[in-house]
């Protein structure tokens, strides 16, 4: 499989209640040009979630080839006068993000098995981020069996990652795109019967119009209206 980056940065923001709507304008409209200016990678997908342990959640994922380049880019971003101005607007009595988590993932050895060979397209529908925990999931075959079962039941596999920094190193993070939530729920019920010993934290998310992930988290972005 080609096109995988060495590292992926997953940013999960637990939002303060009612602050999500204005945050979309900040992250969806105002910040992307600033990312480009400061060398922050273009995000591969944006989501919001009202169903999961961090809800209300705003999340996005970015690819990196070098963590040192990542550190330098975010340092430039945070020091940029334009961002400083937006930050003071963001927090001056208007705090929006309660607790942000900044996590570094590595592509899993399992991921290439689920690489879609079809045309690259935006994957809408309902997305699910599963965080599998437990030493048993260090077994690639076991993880592949779980991901494969979801795929057989209608999910498209966006990506499969290993926890590297900021979350337990036995974490395996799987992003699935479901046609709808009924299909996802039916599969979860089936899995609960088949694999009663599994634990996977599940975040059910909607991809956002300004950052719908592409097949395989591809960087072949479509042209979007500004």
């Amino acid at each position: 499989m080609t096109g995988m980056s060495r590292y992926y940065e997953l940013r999960l923001y637990k939002m303060l209640p009612t602050r999500m709507p204005v945050f979309h304008d900040l992250l969806g409209v105002q910040v992307p040009p600033l990312f480009a200016k400061c060398g922050v990678s273009r995000p591969l997908g944006f989501w919001e979630s009202y169903a999961g342990p961090y809800a209300p959640l705003f999340g996005y994922i970015l690819p990196w080839e070098s963590l040192d380049a990542r550190m330098a880019a975010w340092t430039r971003f945070y020091a940029d006068p334009v961002w400083q101005e937006k930050l003071s607007t963001n927090y001056a009595g208007q705090q929006r993000v309660d607790r942000p988590s900044v996590l570094i993932l590595r592509p899993s050895a399992v991921w290439p098995r689920f690489h879609s060979e079809g045309p690259v397209a935006e994957l809408s529908g309902i997305h699910e981020m599963r965080i599998y925990r437990g030493r048993q999931f260090e077994d690639d075959a076991l993880l592949a069996a779980r991901v494969g079962a979801a795929q057989e039941h209608g999910a498209e596999v966006l990506g499969v990652f290993d926890g590297w920094i900021g979350l337990p190193t036995d974490s395996r993070i799987v992003f699935l795109a479901w046609p709808d939530d009924a299909q996802r729920l039916a599969t979860r019920s089936r899995e609960a019967t088949l694999y009663p010993g599994d634990f996977a934290q599940s975040h059910v998310m909607r991809p956002l119009g300004y950052g719908v992930p592409m097949t395989n988290f591809s960087t072949a972005f479509p042209e979007r209206a500004p």
Binding site: Q95, V97, R99, P100, V102, P168, D170
Partner: protein, 210 residues
């Protein structure tokens, strides 16, 4: 310079094996490892804490990548139920962390949530008020870091040294009663609904390896 704080939780009954595994990493870690401690208490379960320093993250991964791929380490690491690594950077005003510790002192690790967006104010508050009170009580700040890569940010990781438990207890007790500190905390609660420095995971630690 970047720093890494690692939390290790042992598999049941595997404490000794886990300690041996971490000590066995010494040749690989070399000068990058600043300390390995056995924590006492703490709301987050941890059997060992480790602090490392790195000139950059490429150097870190040149050591971690072969380790993760090493079949011998994969077997040895079965002694751990969980490992988690955070990347932390010194806060503005923090002393340079030397890793040269007086082993006769009592060390305290405080992993404390800071209200998001208030890091600068919380840092100034710490150095202008809290650190002064700690010094008055006979303690000293060994290091303070901001977790830049990690969960549930922002978190300040503060490492303190106290002459003994009595000084630690009396120091924090006096802080809770100091009029200036009380006024400052009330102002923070009035403005934000909570103090800058919020929930905390605290460990008293004992060094188990250099």
């Amino acid at each position: 310079m970047l720093y890494e704080l690692s939390f290790y939780q042992c598999a049941p009954g595997a404490w000794s094996k886990a300690l041996a595994a971490l000590k066995g990493l010494t040749p690989r870690m070399g000068q990058h490892r600043l300390g390995l401690w056995q924590p006492d208490g703490g709301a987050r379960p941890a059997h060992f804490l480790m602090l490392s320093q790195w000139p950059d993250l490429e150097t870190r991964d040149r050591i971690h990548d072969p380790l993760a791929a090493d079949p011998a380490w994969r077997t040895t690491s079965q002694a751990f139920a969980e490992c988690e690594h955070w990347i932390v950077t010194p806060t503005r005003g923090a002393p340079e962390f030397s890793g040269k510790w007086n082993t006769g002192e009592l060390f305290e690790f405080r992993v404390q949530e800071v209200v998001n967006g208030s890091q600068a104010a919380a840092g100034a508050d710490f150095w202008n008020i809290v650190a002064q009170q700690i010094a008055t009580a006979g303690g000293r700040v060994v290091g303070q870091f901001d977790a830049v890569l990690g969960p549930n940010r922002p978190n300040f990781v503060t490492i303190l040294a106290w002459p003994d438990f009595q000084a630690l207890h009396e120091g924090w007790r006096a802080m809770d009663r100091d009029e200036g500190v009380v006024r400052q905390r009330q102002a923070e609660i009035d403005a934000l609904g909570r103090p800058y420095h919020d929930r905390m995971i605290q460990y008293l630690v004992k060094s188990v390896a250099p």
